[in-house]
Protein backbone atom coordinates (compact mmCIF):
# COMPACT_ATOMS: atom_id res chain seq x y z
CA UNK A 1 0.00 0.00 0.00
CA UNK A 2 2.81 2.32 0.94
CA UNK A 3 4.58 1.54 -2.37
CA UNK A 4 1.42 2.17 -4.31
CA UNK A 5 0.78 5.44 -2.51
CA UNK A 6 4.34 6.38 -3.19
CA UNK A 7 3.79 6.03 -6.94
CA UNK A 8 6.01 3.05 -7.50
CA UNK A 9 3.22 1.08 -9.27
CA UNK A 10 2.12 3.89 -11.56
CA UNK A 11 3.65 2.48 -14.73
CA UNK A 12 2.15 -0.95 -14.15
CA UNK A 13 -1.16 0.68 -13.28
CA UNK A 14 -1.09 2.74 -16.47
CA UNK A 15 -0.46 -0.35 -18.57
CA UNK A 16 -3.32 -2.16 -16.89
CA UNK A 17 -5.90 0.63 -17.15
CA UNK A 18 -4.84 1.43 -20.70
CA UNK A 19 -5.38 -2.15 -21.74
CA UNK A 20 -8.69 -2.19 -19.92
CA UNK A 21 -9.85 0.96 -21.68
CA UNK A 22 -8.79 -0.39 -25.05
CA UNK A 23 -10.62 -3.67 -24.48
CA UNK A 24 -13.71 -1.83 -23.29
CA UNK A 25 -13.56 0.45 -26.31
CA UNK A 26 -13.28 -2.54 -28.62
CA UNK A 27 -16.28 -4.22 -27.03
CA UNK A 28 -18.23 -1.00 -26.98
CA UNK A 29 -17.56 -0.35 -30.66
CA UNK A 30 -18.65 -3.84 -31.62
CA UNK A 31 -21.72 -3.57 -29.46
CA UNK A 32 -22.70 -0.28 -30.98
CA UNK A 33 -22.10 -1.71 -34.45
CA UNK A 34 -24.26 -4.71 -33.65
CA UNK A 35 -26.92 -2.50 -32.09
CA UNK A 36 -26.95 -0.32 -35.20
CA UNK A 37 -27.19 -3.38 -37.39
CA UNK A 38 -30.20 -4.76 -35.56
CA UNK A 39 -31.99 -1.48 -34.97
CA UNK A 40 -31.26 0.31 -38.24
CA UNK A 41 -34.40 -0.81 -40.12
CA UNK A 42 -36.57 0.69 -37.43
CA UNK A 43 -34.47 3.84 -37.36
CA UNK A 44 -34.51 4.08 -41.13
CA UNK A 45 -38.26 4.05 -41.13
CA UNK A 46 -38.42 6.63 -38.37
CA UNK A 47 -35.75 8.71 -40.09
CA UNK A 48 -37.68 8.62 -43.32
CA UNK A 49 -40.79 9.71 -41.50
CA UNK A 50 -38.87 12.44 -39.73
CA UNK A 51 -37.31 13.49 -43.03
CA UNK A 52 -40.73 13.76 -44.62
CA UNK A 53 -41.95 15.80 -41.67
CA UNK A 54 -38.97 18.12 -41.92
CA UNK A 55 -39.37 18.49 -45.67
CA UNK A 56 -42.99 19.40 -45.07
CA UNK A 57 -41.93 21.96 -42.51
CA UNK A 58 -39.33 23.36 -44.92
CA UNK A 59 -41.96 23.70 -47.64
CA UNK A 60 -44.27 25.43 -45.19
CA UNK A 61 -41.52 27.78 -44.06
CA UNK A 62 -40.55 28.54 -47.65
CA UNK A 63 -44.16 29.43 -48.40
CA UNK A 64 -44.18 31.66 -45.32
CA UNK A 65 -40.94 33.31 -46.46
CA UNK A 66 -42.43 34.04 -49.89
CA UNK A 67 -45.59 35.41 -48.31
CA UNK A 68 -43.59 37.55 -45.90
CA UNK A 69 -41.37 38.84 -48.70
CA UNK A 70 -44.49 39.82 -50.60
CA UNK A 71 -45.88 41.53 -47.51
CA UNK A 72 -42.56 43.33 -46.97
CA UNK A 73 -42.69 44.53 -50.58
CA UNK A 74 -46.25 45.79 -50.14
CA UNK A 75 -45.34 47.42 -46.85
CA UNK A 76 -42.39 49.19 -48.47
CA UNK A 77 -44.67 50.48 -51.24
CA UNK A 78 -47.25 51.62 -48.68
CA UNK A 79 -44.56 53.30 -46.56
CA UNK A 80 -43.31 55.17 -49.62
CA UNK A 81 -46.87 56.21 -50.44
CA UNK A 82 -47.44 57.40 -46.88
CA UNK A 83 -44.22 59.44 -47.05
CA UNK A 84 -45.38 60.90 -50.34
CA UNK A 85 -48.81 61.85 -48.96
CA UNK A 86 -47.21 63.41 -45.85
CA UNK A 87 -44.87 65.44 -48.03
CA UNK A 88 -47.86 66.74 -50.00
CA UNK A 89 -50.28 67.33 -47.20
CA UNK A 90 -52.37 69.76 -49.23
CA UNK A 91 -53.92 66.79 -51.06
CA UNK A 92 -56.16 64.03 -49.74
CA UNK A 93 -55.42 60.56 -51.01
CA UNK A 94 -57.21 57.26 -51.29
CA UNK A 95 -54.98 54.21 -51.72
CA UNK A 96 -56.04 51.57 -54.22
CA UNK A 97 -54.68 48.29 -55.57
CA UNK A 98 -54.37 47.71 -59.29
CA UNK A 99 -56.48 44.63 -60.01
CA UNK A 100 -56.41 44.48 -63.77
CA UNK A 101 -55.63 46.05 -67.10
CA UNK A 102 -57.72 46.88 -70.11
CA UNK A 103 -58.47 43.74 -72.13
CA UNK A 104 -57.58 45.57 -75.35
CA UNK A 105 -53.93 46.12 -76.29
CA UNK A 106 -54.92 49.39 -78.00
CA UNK A 107 -55.65 51.12 -74.71
CA UNK A 108 -53.51 51.73 -71.66
CA UNK A 109 -55.92 51.60 -68.76
CA UNK A 110 -55.74 49.94 -65.38
CA UNK A 111 -58.57 48.90 -63.10
CA UNK A 112 -58.35 49.78 -59.39
CA UNK A 113 -60.32 48.40 -56.47
CA UNK A 114 -61.93 51.62 -55.23
CA UNK A 115 -65.00 53.25 -56.70
CA UNK A 116 -67.84 55.62 -56.02
CA UNK A 117 -68.46 53.99 -52.63
CA UNK A 118 -65.05 55.32 -51.61
CA UNK A 119 -65.69 58.80 -52.95
CA UNK A 120 -63.91 58.33 -56.27
CA UNK A 121 -65.15 60.53 -59.12
CA UNK A 122 -64.37 60.66 -62.81
CA UNK A 123 -61.40 62.89 -63.60
CA UNK A 124 -59.56 62.50 -60.30
CA UNK A 125 -55.79 62.29 -60.80
CA UNK A 126 -53.97 59.10 -59.85
CA UNK A 127 -50.36 59.05 -58.67
CA UNK A 128 -47.76 56.87 -57.03
CA UNK A 129 -45.01 58.03 -54.72
CA UNK A 130 -42.89 58.48 -57.85
CA UNK A 131 -45.23 60.61 -59.90
CA UNK A 132 -48.33 60.94 -62.03
CA UNK A 133 -49.82 57.85 -63.67
CA UNK A 134 -53.14 59.10 -65.05
CA UNK A 135 -56.69 59.97 -64.13
CA UNK A 136 -59.95 58.19 -63.40
CA UNK A 137 -61.88 57.56 -66.60
CA UNK A 138 -64.90 55.57 -65.41
CA UNK A 139 -66.26 54.61 -62.00
CA UNK A 140 -68.59 51.95 -60.66
CA UNK A 141 -69.48 51.25 -57.03
CA UNK A 142 -66.37 49.29 -56.04
CA UNK A 143 -63.93 49.81 -58.90
CA UNK A 144 -62.68 52.43 -61.29
CA UNK A 145 -60.88 52.51 -64.61
CA UNK A 146 -57.82 54.74 -64.84
CA UNK A 147 -56.53 56.14 -68.11
CA UNK A 148 -52.73 56.08 -67.96
CA UNK A 149 -50.69 58.94 -69.36
CA UNK A 150 -49.19 56.40 -71.80
CA UNK A 151 -52.58 55.84 -73.45
CA UNK A 152 -52.72 56.99 -77.09
CA UNK A 153 -55.72 59.21 -76.30
CA UNK A 154 -54.08 60.82 -73.26
CA UNK A 155 -52.85 64.40 -73.38
CA UNK A 156 -51.39 66.20 -70.36
CA UNK A 157 -50.40 69.84 -70.17
CA UNK A 158 -46.91 69.95 -68.75
CA UNK A 159 -44.05 72.33 -68.09
CA UNK A 160 -40.34 71.80 -68.35
CA UNK A 161 -38.78 72.75 -65.06
CA UNK A 162 -35.41 73.90 -66.39
CA UNK A 163 -36.61 75.47 -69.61
CA UNK A 164 -39.62 77.17 -67.97
CA UNK A 165 -41.84 76.43 -70.93
CA UNK A 166 -45.09 74.60 -71.40
CA UNK A 167 -45.86 71.73 -73.72
CA UNK A 168 -48.23 68.83 -74.24
CA UNK A 169 -47.41 65.27 -73.25
CA UNK A 170 -49.07 62.58 -75.36
CA UNK A 171 -49.07 58.80 -75.08
CA UNK A 172 -48.83 56.21 -77.81
CA UNK A 173 -49.90 52.69 -78.63
CA UNK A 174 -46.42 51.42 -77.69
CA UNK A 175 -46.56 53.07 -74.26
CA UNK A 176 -43.93 55.70 -75.05
CA UNK A 177 -44.68 59.28 -74.05
CA UNK A 178 -43.68 62.27 -76.12
CA UNK A 179 -43.57 66.00 -75.52
CA UNK A 180 -45.13 68.00 -78.30
CA UNK A 181 -45.77 71.68 -79.00
CA UNK A 182 -42.42 72.84 -77.57
CA UNK A 183 -41.61 76.22 -79.13
CA UNK A 184 -38.57 76.22 -81.43
CA UNK A 185 -36.80 78.99 -79.53
CA UNK A 186 -36.72 77.03 -76.27
CA UNK A 187 -33.54 75.20 -75.35
CA UNK A 188 -34.56 71.75 -74.16
CA UNK A 189 -31.87 69.45 -72.82
CA UNK A 190 -31.91 65.71 -72.04
CA UNK A 191 -32.45 65.34 -68.31
CA UNK A 192 -34.89 68.23 -68.01
CA UNK A 193 -37.64 67.44 -65.52
CA UNK A 194 -41.23 67.28 -66.81
CA UNK A 195 -44.02 68.34 -64.41
CA UNK A 196 -47.73 68.90 -64.78
CA UNK A 197 -48.51 72.56 -65.42
CA UNK A 198 -52.08 72.55 -64.14
CA UNK A 199 -53.28 74.30 -67.30
CA UNK A 200 -56.65 73.14 -68.53
CA UNK A 201 -57.71 72.04 -65.08
CA UNK A 202 -57.31 68.34 -65.78
CA UNK A 203 -54.45 67.75 -63.35
CA UNK A 204 -53.05 69.57 -60.32
CA UNK A 205 -49.77 71.41 -60.98
CA UNK A 206 -46.26 70.20 -60.15
CA UNK A 207 -46.77 66.45 -60.25
CA UNK A 208 -43.61 64.79 -61.54
CA UNK A 209 -43.96 62.89 -64.81
CA UNK A 210 -40.44 62.12 -65.98
CA UNK A 211 -37.29 63.35 -67.65
CA UNK A 212 -36.51 64.35 -71.20
CA UNK A 213 -34.46 61.63 -72.89
CA UNK A 214 -33.86 63.13 -76.30
CA UNK A 215 -35.01 66.11 -78.31
CA UNK A 216 -35.95 66.28 -81.99
CA UNK A 217 -35.66 69.73 -83.42
CA UNK A 218 -35.82 70.36 -87.17
CA UNK A 219 -35.67 73.76 -88.80
CA UNK A 220 -38.72 73.21 -90.96
CA UNK A 221 -40.95 72.09 -88.05
CA UNK A 222 -43.13 74.54 -86.19
CA UNK A 223 -42.43 72.87 -82.85
CA UNK A 224 -39.81 70.65 -81.24
CA UNK A 225 -40.55 67.17 -79.98
CA UNK A 226 -38.96 65.34 -77.08
CA UNK A 227 -39.12 61.79 -75.82
CA UNK A 228 -39.80 61.47 -72.11
CA UNK A 229 -38.79 58.66 -69.77
CA UNK A 230 -41.57 58.42 -67.17
CA UNK A 231 -40.49 58.05 -63.55
CA UNK A 232 -43.20 55.43 -63.00
CA UNK A 233 -42.77 51.88 -64.28
CA UNK A 234 -46.21 51.35 -65.79
CA UNK A 235 -45.69 47.60 -66.14
CA UNK A 236 -45.31 47.15 -62.41
CA UNK A 237 -48.16 49.18 -60.96
CA UNK A 238 -49.43 47.57 -57.75
CA UNK A 239 -50.70 50.23 -55.38
CA UNK A 240 -51.67 53.77 -56.40
CA UNK A 241 -53.09 56.88 -54.76
CA UNK A 242 -56.15 58.72 -56.02
CA UNK A 243 -56.16 62.44 -55.22
CA UNK A 244 -59.70 62.75 -53.94
CA UNK A 245 -59.83 66.46 -53.14
CA UNK A 246 -58.99 67.57 -56.68
CA UNK A 247 -61.96 68.62 -58.78
CA UNK A 248 -61.13 68.64 -62.48
CA UNK A 249 -62.38 71.61 -64.46
CA UNK A 250 -64.25 70.92 -67.67
CA UNK A 251 -63.17 73.66 -70.06
CA UNK A 252 -64.85 72.08 -73.09
CA UNK A 253 -67.75 74.61 -73.08
CA UNK A 254 -65.19 77.45 -73.18
CA UNK A 255 -63.41 76.12 -76.24
CA UNK A 256 -64.49 77.48 -79.63
CA UNK A 257 -66.54 75.03 -81.68
CA UNK A 258 -64.62 73.58 -84.65
Amino acid sequence: MALALGGYFSSASNVFTGSLVNVQAWFSARFVALQDFFTSPRDLASLRQRNAELEGEIAELQAQVIQLQQEVGETEILAALVDFSRARSENSYKAAAVIGRDPSPFLHYVIINVGSNDGILRGMPVVTNQGLIGRVDAVIADAARVELITDPASSVNVRLQNAETEASLVGSVTGDVTLELIPQDINVQPGDLVLTSGLGGGYPPDLIIGQVVNVRSRDFDLFQQATVQPVVDFNRLEIVLVIVNFKPVDIAPLLPAP
Binding site: R101, P103, V173
Partner: protein, 166 residues
Protein backbone atom coordinates in the same frame (compact mmCIF):
# COMPACT_ATOMS: atom_id res chain seq x y z
CA UNK B 1 -79.88 24.98 -68.05
CA UNK B 2 -77.12 24.28 -70.56
CA UNK B 3 -76.74 27.99 -71.18
CA UNK B 4 -75.98 28.59 -67.52
CA UNK B 5 -72.48 27.20 -68.03
CA UNK B 6 -71.78 30.31 -70.08
CA UNK B 7 -71.89 32.51 -66.98
CA UNK B 8 -68.85 31.10 -65.13
CA UNK B 9 -66.90 30.40 -68.32
CA UNK B 10 -67.33 33.89 -69.76
CA UNK B 11 -66.72 35.55 -66.40
CA UNK B 12 -63.60 33.48 -65.83
CA UNK B 13 -62.21 34.18 -69.29
CA UNK B 14 -62.75 37.94 -68.98
CA UNK B 15 -61.33 38.05 -65.45
CA UNK B 16 -58.27 36.06 -66.55
CA UNK B 17 -57.91 38.34 -69.55
CA UNK B 18 -57.96 41.50 -67.44
CA UNK B 19 -55.93 40.22 -64.49
CA UNK B 20 -53.37 37.95 -66.13
CA UNK B 21 -53.24 37.83 -69.93
CA UNK B 22 -53.27 41.63 -70.28
CA UNK B 23 -50.06 41.85 -68.26
CA UNK B 24 -48.12 39.50 -70.54
CA UNK B 25 -46.78 41.62 -73.36
CA UNK B 26 -45.04 40.64 -76.56
CA UNK B 27 -43.85 44.00 -77.91
CA UNK B 28 -47.12 45.89 -77.53
CA UNK B 29 -49.40 42.94 -78.24
CA UNK B 30 -51.32 40.82 -75.75
CA UNK B 31 -53.39 37.67 -76.07
CA UNK B 32 -57.18 37.74 -76.25
CA UNK B 33 -58.54 34.85 -74.21
CA UNK B 34 -62.26 35.65 -74.73
CA UNK B 35 -61.68 35.73 -78.49
CA UNK B 36 -59.89 32.38 -78.52
CA UNK B 37 -62.46 30.88 -76.15
CA UNK B 38 -65.32 31.99 -78.38
CA UNK B 39 -63.58 30.67 -81.49
CA UNK B 40 -63.06 27.28 -79.84
CA UNK B 41 -66.62 27.14 -78.51
CA UNK B 42 -68.17 28.12 -81.84
CA UNK B 43 -66.23 25.36 -83.60
CA UNK B 44 -67.88 22.64 -81.55
CA UNK B 45 -70.43 20.98 -83.76
CA UNK B 46 -73.07 20.37 -81.10
CA UNK B 47 -72.98 23.91 -79.70
CA UNK B 48 -76.01 26.00 -80.60
CA UNK B 49 -75.52 28.95 -78.25
CA UNK B 50 -72.36 30.52 -79.67
CA UNK B 51 -74.15 33.70 -80.77
CA UNK B 52 -75.44 34.28 -77.24
CA UNK B 53 -71.98 33.64 -75.83
CA UNK B 54 -70.46 36.16 -78.25
CA UNK B 55 -73.01 38.83 -77.34
CA UNK B 56 -72.58 38.28 -73.60
CA UNK B 57 -68.77 38.25 -73.87
CA UNK B 58 -68.80 41.39 -76.01
CA UNK B 59 -71.01 43.19 -73.51
CA UNK B 60 -68.80 42.20 -70.59
CA UNK B 61 -65.55 43.12 -72.33
CA UNK B 62 -67.11 46.38 -73.48
CA UNK B 63 -68.12 47.12 -69.91
CA UNK B 64 -64.59 46.60 -68.58
CA UNK B 65 -62.64 48.04 -71.48
CA UNK B 66 -62.31 51.62 -72.61
CA UNK B 67 -63.03 50.51 -76.18
CA UNK B 68 -66.34 51.62 -77.68
CA UNK B 69 -68.92 48.89 -77.07
CA UNK B 70 -69.40 48.30 -80.78
CA UNK B 71 -65.88 46.87 -81.15
CA UNK B 72 -66.05 43.82 -78.85
CA UNK B 73 -69.66 42.99 -79.72
CA UNK B 74 -69.18 43.22 -83.49
CA UNK B 75 -65.77 41.60 -83.30
CA UNK B 76 -66.91 38.61 -81.27
CA UNK B 77 -70.04 38.09 -83.38
CA UNK B 78 -67.78 38.11 -86.43
CA UNK B 79 -65.62 35.43 -84.78
CA UNK B 80 -68.68 33.20 -84.40
CA UNK B 81 -69.65 33.85 -88.00
CA UNK B 82 -66.14 32.93 -89.15
CA UNK B 83 -66.20 29.80 -87.00
CA UNK B 84 -69.54 28.69 -88.43
CA UNK B 85 -68.24 29.18 -91.97
CA UNK B 86 -65.03 27.30 -91.28
CA UNK B 87 -66.81 24.55 -89.37
CA UNK B 88 -68.75 23.59 -92.49
CA UNK B 89 -65.76 23.74 -94.82
CA UNK B 90 -62.90 22.26 -92.82
CA UNK B 91 -64.82 20.08 -90.42
CA UNK B 92 -62.32 17.22 -90.76
CA UNK B 93 -59.44 19.28 -89.41
CA UNK B 94 -60.76 21.22 -86.41
CA UNK B 95 -57.34 22.37 -85.28
CA UNK B 96 -56.64 23.86 -88.69
CA UNK B 97 -59.98 25.63 -88.49
CA UNK B 98 -59.13 26.82 -84.98
CA UNK B 99 -55.81 28.29 -86.09
CA UNK B 100 -57.40 29.91 -89.14
CA UNK B 101 -60.16 31.52 -87.10
CA UNK B 102 -57.73 32.69 -84.44
CA UNK B 103 -55.48 34.23 -87.09
CA UNK B 104 -58.25 35.90 -89.08
CA UNK B 105 -60.28 36.81 -86.00
CA UNK B 106 -57.38 38.54 -84.27
CA UNK B 107 -56.64 40.59 -87.38
CA UNK B 108 -60.33 41.38 -87.80
CA UNK B 109 -60.77 42.59 -84.21
CA UNK B 110 -57.52 44.54 -84.46
CA UNK B 111 -58.55 46.27 -87.68
CA UNK B 112 -61.99 46.97 -86.22
CA UNK B 113 -60.46 48.48 -83.06
CA UNK B 114 -58.05 50.54 -85.13
CA UNK B 115 -60.82 51.83 -87.40
CA UNK B 116 -63.21 52.74 -84.60
CA UNK B 117 -60.53 54.37 -82.43
CA UNK B 118 -59.22 56.42 -85.33
CA UNK B 119 -62.81 57.38 -86.12
CA UNK B 120 -63.32 58.73 -82.59
CA UNK B 121 -60.11 60.73 -82.86
CA UNK B 122 -57.41 58.60 -81.21
CA UNK B 123 -54.16 59.08 -83.15
CA UNK B 124 -52.97 55.56 -83.99
CA UNK B 125 -50.25 55.07 -86.62
CA UNK B 126 -51.21 52.06 -88.77
CA UNK B 127 -47.64 50.80 -89.21
CA UNK B 128 -47.02 50.74 -85.44
CA UNK B 129 -50.32 49.01 -84.81
CA UNK B 130 -49.71 46.30 -87.39
CA UNK B 131 -46.07 45.65 -86.56
CA UNK B 132 -45.97 46.07 -82.81
CA UNK B 133 -49.48 45.16 -81.77
CA UNK B 134 -51.45 43.06 -84.25
CA UNK B 135 -48.79 40.55 -85.28
CA UNK B 136 -47.56 39.85 -81.72
CA UNK B 137 -51.19 39.49 -80.63
CA UNK B 138 -51.76 36.97 -83.43
CA UNK B 139 -48.78 34.95 -82.22
CA UNK B 140 -49.93 35.00 -78.58
CA UNK B 141 -53.45 33.98 -79.57
CA UNK B 142 -52.04 31.11 -81.63
CA UNK B 143 -50.20 29.91 -78.54
CA UNK B 144 -53.44 30.07 -76.56
CA UNK B 145 -55.42 28.31 -79.28
CA UNK B 146 -54.44 24.68 -78.62
CA UNK B 147 -55.02 24.49 -74.84
CA UNK B 148 -58.18 26.57 -75.05
CA UNK B 149 -59.53 24.40 -77.86
CA UNK B 150 -58.91 21.26 -75.80
CA UNK B 151 -60.68 22.73 -72.76
CA UNK B 152 -63.66 23.98 -74.76
CA UNK B 153 -64.00 20.66 -76.60
CA UNK B 154 -64.17 18.80 -73.28
CA UNK B 155 -66.64 21.36 -71.96
CA UNK B 156 -68.84 20.96 -75.04
CA UNK B 157 -68.81 17.17 -74.63
CA UNK B 158 -69.81 17.59 -71.00
CA UNK B 159 -72.56 20.09 -71.71
CA UNK B 160 -73.86 18.31 -74.83
CA UNK B 161 -73.31 14.58 -74.17
CA UNK B 162 -73.58 12.45 -77.31
CA UNK B 163 -76.28 9.75 -76.95
CA UNK B 164 -74.82 6.27 -77.19
CA UNK B 165 -75.90 4.27 -80.24
CA UNK B 166 -76.74 0.61 -79.54
Amino acid sequence: MRNLVAVPVILLSVILQSAVISRVYLLSGIGDLPLVMLAAWSLQEEVDSAWHWATATGLLVGFISGLPLVVPITGYLAIVLLARIFQRRVWQAPLLAMFSITFLGTILVSVLSLGVLRFVGVPLPISDVLGLLTLPSVLLNMLLAIPVYAVMRDLARWVYPTPEVE
